[in-house]
Subunit: 329 residues, 2 copies
């Protein structure tokens, strides 16, 4: 059975392969006025979790990595399309310590860079696809539709005084989890999986995606600043409606609730108030609520793995889920 | 053989069917914060030329309209995706006498509305596609990639002092003609055409698209103001590098050339100077040059029709080309 060290080695190896392949995608395409900015964000090394989900899913149903690389590149490009456009909408200056595309270039360039990433994503998805390739494109398109809907809900919720936990879960399911779900579905489809395998891996991806996003919200408070690449408490400073905030609003009463409402009224808090609100979150127990929720969705994901026959592949998906829970960045 | 009146009746009938179908696409989808703005532009009735090309091409190779409607809706949504994003980039306030999406709502909403139109376009393209559906999606994606590249060239050329006619033709081939080419290819593919039929119709679409864009540039000067929905001379006022301008720069010398350069230096001209530059264009003969070029590409398109076996379908495509040359709006 694969050890944790071997797992980490495997992931790191595939991440590097994906990085190397991504580097080649846009570098020679013309016009450079279009592809240079698209390449700028694509070269900004991330976790590459989505393409890794594609590859692992193809393998888990008995397929080969080799047939899934183009789809893996496609999902990473789709992801980067959402990042470029979301960064414009969120007025974000930096991403992973580098200037965002619309700041380094301008908004028009960033809109078009995002569009082109999506266009080339479809191009790669289609490369060498054979029957039943339509299913792969259908999964991909469903993921795209949902990520647009999720982003729209996110922007809509920014303007609301309060949202429920259900609304929050719906939003992150569309904005984050649908993409992970799609990655697993595509990989499993390309790998030749049965419909129960595809279904199981899709649900693994979806639930892992929800856990991942709540973990992201939690790390805003408990994260490891230098490597996280974002300020601790950044979501509080920006007044975002994270899991922690929504749960805190549900739990708090009286003065504490009024203090939380102030975050929304003032559209965020000052850097100096982060420690205070961190304490408030702790007092209200919402950090533990988040941990429980992360565990709940992770277990939901892991339960799907009963459909994976190969024990080694099952172990890989289990270790992947564990590594996401344990991450500090 | 079909008469011109019957042709116009046919086109009008299909346009209405497309309009009616487009009305239903987004009206019930949620969240409304996403689909209401997307629906706003989609309901802004246009010529619907692209979906009509899809339908006519399917029919011309022996297929049925019925199987091509979803693809027809898809290309119109793709077109509207480009309009929403281009209007942001061009800082355009109005389109067909209605406020543009980013003006009626805001830039963020418009970015996401555009993205969602593209997403739903793929969704409709895939609806009910059977093997060899991948080819249809591949044509569509190629069209999307090219339209992004064309828009990027257009923005790039805005910043250049001068461009050549070749550069201009490359740009409009990508920005406008590739989409018409794709519409014909998709229709012919869905209709079950042979590869020589698909190829011929694609080239028909491409050349018609080039002629269409040059005609658009010409109509900026010779067009029929009230129904054109844009100001006469709008391209001059905005300092756009149209066919007329590029050709005029190639032809003019001395003072006349200096007067043309002023358009670029000043980033456009004043309303009051439109008549003067119209006269200059006439004197330089570029209006006639444009007419010749439109005729050249239209004839190139028409020559492809030798591949169409059914005489009635051939007549329909011929009348379509003629109607575009004769249009005043």
């Amino acid at each position: 059975m694969i050890t944790e060290k071997e797992f980490q080695f495997l992931i790191e190896k595939e991440r590097k392969i994906i990085d190397a392949k991504l580097k080649k995608v846009l570098v020679k395409r013309k016009p450079r006025s279009l592809y240079e900015p698209s390449n700028y964000i694509l070269a900004n090394q991330g976790k590459r979790l989505r393409p890794i989900l594609v590859l692992l899913s193809a393998k888990a149903v008995g397929g080969q990595y080799a047939k899934a690389y183009n789809a893996a590149l496609a999902v990473e490009m789709l992801h980067n399309f959402t990042l470029v456009h979301d960064d414009i909408m969120d007025n974000a200056d930096k991403r992973r310590n580098k200037l965002t595309v619309h700041v380094k270039y301008d908004v028009n360039t960033a809109i078009l860079a995002g569009d082109s990433l999506l266009a080339v994503a479809y191009e790669y998805l289609l490369k060498g696809l054979v029957v039943p390739g339509n299913k792969v494109v259908t999964y991909f398109t469903k993921g795209l539709v949902e990520v647009c809907e999720g982003q729209s809900l996110d922007k809509e919720y920014e303007l609301k005084k309060s949202i429920s936990i259900n609304e929050y879960i719906t939003m992150i399911t569309k904005k984050t989890a649908a993409m992970a779900e799609m990655c697993c579905a595509i990989g499993a489809q390309i790998g030749g999986g049965s419909s129960s395998e595809i279904n199981a891996l899709s649900l693994y991806g979806k639930n892992l995606g929800i856990a991942f996003q709540i973990q992201d919200d939690l790390l805003d408070i408990t994260g490891d600043e230098p490597s996280f690449g974002k300020k601790i408490g950044g979501d509080l400073i920006e007044g975002k409606k994270t899991f922690l905030f929504v749960k805190a609003m549900e739990t708090a009463k009286g003065l504490e609730k009024a203090l939380l409402k102030k975050i929304i009224v003032n559209k965020g808090i000052k850097q100096g108030d982060v420690a205070f609100y961190k304490n408030l979150y702790q007092k209200l127990g919402v950090l533990d609520d988040a941990r429980k929720e992360i565990m709940k969705y992770t277990l939901k994901a892991l339960r799907q793995l009963i459909q994976i026959k190969n024990e080694n592949d099952k172990a890989v998906f289990t270790l992947l889920a564990h590594s996401l829970i344990k991450r500090t960045t």
